[in-house]
């Protein structure tokens, strides 16, 4: 089994995710990018688990998926509330914490 293809895929997904988080202004898209990053990690975990012939990687991946679901739930709720207040989900406009 070749490990590096999975690692390349994960790295690619991670980079796309990071780019999305840092560059996109739409809050929903940012949340989706976060999902990409988490899934990149999942790919890595499962790949290493398969490579080492152990189920630990898959267990961790399941935890990540569960927590990501919760995170998206909370995140989408926040975005929804932002939209209700500002009629926009542009993150650059949400700077109430500016020092």
């Amino acid at each position: 089994m070749y490990l590096n293809q999975f690692l390349f895929l994960a790295a690619f997904l991670f980079c796309v995710g990071v780019y999305g988080v840092l560059a996109r202004r739409n809050g929903v898209l940012v949340l989706m990018s976060v999902e990409l990053i988490l899934n990149a990690v999942n790919v890595n975990l499962i790949a290493f688990g398969a490579f080492h012939e152990t189920v630990v990687g898959q267990v961790f991946a399941l935890f990540v998926i569960a927590i990501a679901a919760a995170e998206v739930g909370v995140g989408l709720a926040i975005v929804l509330l932002i939209y209700r207040n500002k009629h926009s989900i542009d993150l650059t406009e949400v700077d109430l914490m500016k020092g």
């Binding site: 990071v18 840092l22 993150l91 949400v94 500016k98 020092g99």
Partner: protein
């Protein structure tokens, strides 16, 4: 009592404290405490005197030559040990003696036997101890120390067996005189004396030096303690009436008690340090008493003068004691110092220096020329105080000092050699100079004051010419008749309220018969008329001067005797004869005043017989180891000298009688003769000594000293103060400017400013944009990850 002699000074000290605390609340305002304490001390001193007289004379001191030989080389050690052991035994013997005496006095002859039967232990112990001390002496002579203990025990048992056979009454007598008789039977080269009773405790010790406090009771101390207590008690009695309405009555009695205590401490002292303590106590109390009526400036001036003048001499005492302490081998012990001086253990230079320094103290305290000026001024105090200070206590302290440390003076000034020496010279000059001054005084107390100075001169001269016993004897008799004269003067002033003989007195013979009679007795005793006290003591001084090779001082003494008789005649005439010149009605004084006069008059008559030829008890009692070791000579009564002295006294009285009663002689001489007038002026101005001291000495020192002090004050002290001030100010300014303002404030402000600047700078980063934060986060992770990869 001899061993517990410390009780005698302790009583007046106690009464001093009690009077100060409780005096004012008592019905007698404190005088009862003073009377009780001094009266008690008087009783105890009589007991001590009796015990001393009863004390067996079993102590031998080799005269000068043998003493030196005995203390040289190895003999020294043995002799010391022997002495030490002997002392202990003698003390034990004394203690049991006392017991035996008490029994003898309290029980009758019949019960004595019972006592002897019931308590054989005590009498045997007394007898045994006596035998011990005798035995001890024999041991010391053959220098067989090692067998002493055993032999003593055997001897004690033998004695026990012998004594048991004798009747009880005889035994008791033995307790007193047996040893004397036994001592007389044996053949000795020197006459034995009574061993002094010493008792010392270590006060404190510093290294090897032990400073002790204790009493040393020998004949001289016993006699002086008795004299002081007697005069002090009579003065207390006198004062209860004389000072009756005084505003500081209580304090007066307190000071009187302390004064007596000071003198008693001094005379019982066993070491020079304690002597100094008593000496200074008296100086202090004389200040308090002379300045008792300090509201008048004259009185407080006189008190200051007495204090400062005696203080001038006291420097000498301190120096002398210090020299002797070092020279005699780190000891203050008087007996040790005397021994060291006589045996030649002290170097010649140190001895002369110490004797000279001590002589300064004597000149100051005993009012010898030229420091006598304080004594007449001290008459500003109440009259009983004058009697106490000038008859029995303070002024004779100097004489006592010479007599006590006689070894030092004897060797230091070569008193045995004859001719002229400083002690005799100081005394001789004082005799004449003070006697001359007594002629021109119109104040009765001033006459007595100069008379005291003159008589003190006699005493010092006696000690200076080697007549130790005579000097001490004159001290004793003089205390009696001078105390009498002062109290008599007090009685007169009590009647006429003045001391001025020329203006306020005269003709008091009829009004005050008791005072008159006693005063005349005192005057005659002072003039040295047979058989009154002054005759015997003065005669001994003259005899000593003539026999010891001091012819010059014999002449001085004779002239002094003439002058003394003459000025006392003048004084008696002006006070008691002629017309009464005062106003009011003088009356005889109450008993509190006349009884002391009568008692002292009795002593003035009888005291001299104590040392009359054929009796000579006084010299037997007082002469101690020092005088015998020094080799002070005794001289047989010389009828020639006695006649000469009496003739001079009679001539003085005759001259006074002729001048005043018969109106003969050169009256109004001062108006006719310039020489006589200038002589009178010299006397009237007291040889300008006061002027010399106040203007030249004090003024001469005061000006430059004041200027120097001013300069020192302005330049040095103020300079230092100012420099310190300026320096402090500069340091403070620097601290404020640099440390406080710049450093401390800088740190505080810098912290604030730093926090503020840092905050505002960092607040730029806080944009509130989540993505930017995420970017920082990511960047940070990248950096950390990079670092991990690179360095881990």
């Amino acid at each position: 009592m001899l061993r517990n002699a410390w009780v005698i000074p302790a009583l007046p000290v106690l009464s001093f404290v009690l009077i100060l605390f409780f005096g004012k609340r008592l019905p007698g305002k404190g005088h009862e405490l003073g009377l009780a304490a001094v009266g008690g001390a008087l009783v105890l001193s009589v007991v001590a005197l009796v015990q001393w007289v009863d004390r067996p004379a079993d102590f031998e001191v080799p005269p000068a030559g043998e003493h030196a030989a005995a203390t040289a080389g190895e003999g020294e050690h043995a002799a010391e040990e022997g002495e030490h052991a002997g002392e202990e035994h003698a003390e034990e013997g004394a203690a049991t003696d006392d017991h035996a005496d008490d029994e003898a006095s309290t029980t009758t002859a019949a019960t004595e036997e019972e006592h002897a039967g019931d308590e054989p232990a005590t009498t045997v112990a007394a007898a045994g101890d006596e035998s011990l001390s005798e035995d001890e002496r024999a041991d010391a002579e053959v220098a067989a120390e090692e067998a002493a203990a055993g032999e003593e025990a055997v001897a004690a048992e033998d004695e026990h067996a012998d004594e048991a056979g004798v009747a009880a009454s005889a035994e008791d007598e033995e307790g007193g005189h047996g040893a004397e008789a036994a001592a007389g039977e044996e053949e000795h080269h020197a006459e034995p004396i009574r061993r002094p009773v010493e008792r010392e405790v270590v006060w404190f010790s510093s290294g090897d030096v032990e400073i002790k406090a204790g009493t040393r009771m020998d004949g001289m101390a016993v006699i002086l303690v008795f004299t002081v207590c007697l005069i002090s008690f009579l003065v207390h009695v006198f004062s209860t009436n004389y000072m009756h309405d005084d505003r500081r009555y209580t304090h007066y009695f307190a000071a009187l008690s302390l004064f007596t205590a000071g003198m008693l401490i001094m005379v019982t002292a066993s070491n020079t340090l304690q002597l100094l303590f008593g000496w200074e106590m008296m100086g202090l109390c004389s200040f308090m008493l002379i300045g008792h009526w300090w509201e008048e400036k004259n009185n407080s001036d006189a008190a200051l003068k007495a204090f400062l003048t005696t203080r001038t001499g006291d420097i000498g005492l301190l120096v002398g004691i210090s020299i002797l302490f070092v020279a005699a081998g780190n000891t203050f012990d008087i007996a040790a110092i005397n021994d060291a001086a006589l045996s030649g253990a002290i170097g010649r230079t140190a001895l002369v220096a110490a004797a000279a320094a001590l002589l300064c103290a004597v000149i100051g305290k005993s009012a010898q020329f030229p420091l006598h000026t304080w004594l007449p001024d001290a008459m500003a105090g109440p009259t009983p105080v004058s009697a106490l200070i000038h008859a029995a206590t303070m002024v004779v302290a100097g004489v006592y000092l010479v007599a006590r440390l006689y070894g030092v003076f004897w060797e230091g000034f070569d008193i045995g050699a004859g001719g002229i020496n400083p002690v005799a010279l100081a005394g001789g000059v004082t005799v004449l100079i003070a006697a001359a001054l007594a002629f021109v005084q119109s104040d009765i107390k001033k006459v007595l004051a100069y008379s005291t100075v003159s008589q003190l001169g006699y005493m010092v001269m006696a000690l200076g010419v080697g007549a130790w016993t005579a000097g001490l004897f004159h001290l004793f008799t003089h205390a009696m008749f001078k105390g009498l004269l002062f109290l008599g003067a007090g009685s007169v002033s009590h009647a006429v309220h003045s001391f001025d003989m020329k203006k306020e007195m005269g003709g008091l013979k009829q009004h005050m018969p008791t005072t008159f009679k006693t005063f005349v007795i005192g005057s005659l005793a002072l003039a040295g008329l047979f058989p009154l006290a002054g005759f015997w003591s003065k005669d001994e001084i003259l005899l000593g001067a003539s026999a010891n090779g001091y012819q010059l001082f014999l002449v001085v003494g004779l002239i002094g005797a003439f002058m003394t008789a003459a000025y006392m005649t003048r004084c008696v005439y002006l006070t008691f004869f002629g017309e009464y010149r005062g106003h009011g009605h003088p009356h005889e004084s109450p008993p509190a005043i006349t009884v002391p006069l009568v008692v002292l008059a009795a002593f003035s008559v009888g005291a001299g017989l104590l040392n009359a030829p054929g009796i000579a008890l006084f010299s037997e009692w007082t002469e101690g180891a020092t005088t015998i070791a020094a080799g002070v000579e005794h001289h047989d009564f010389s009828i020639g000298v006695a006649l000469l002295g009496s003739l001079m006294g009679l001539a003085g009285i005759g001259a006074g009688y002729a001048y005043y009663w018969r109106n003969l002689g050169p009256h109004r001489l001062t108006e006719r003769s310039g020489a006589a007038l200038s002589g009178y002026r010299i006397l009237e101005n007291k040889y300008w000594l006061d002027r010399l001291y106040t203007d030249m000495v004090v003024g001469g020192i005061k000006g430059p000293v004041a200027r120097g002090a001013y300069w020192v004050n302005q330049r040095i002290i103020d300079g230092v103060v100012n420099a310190v001030g300026i320096g402090s100010r500069a340091v403070a300014q620097f601290t404020y400017d640099v440390v406080d303002q710049k450093l401390v404030d800088g740190v505080v402000n810098g912290t604030g400013v730093g926090a503020e600047e840092g905050g505002s700078a960092l607040s730029v980063l806080q944009t509130g944009r989540v993505q930017q934060y995420a970017a920082f986060l990511f960047g940070g992770v990248v950096l950390l990850g990079g670092a991990l990869v690179l360095f881990a």
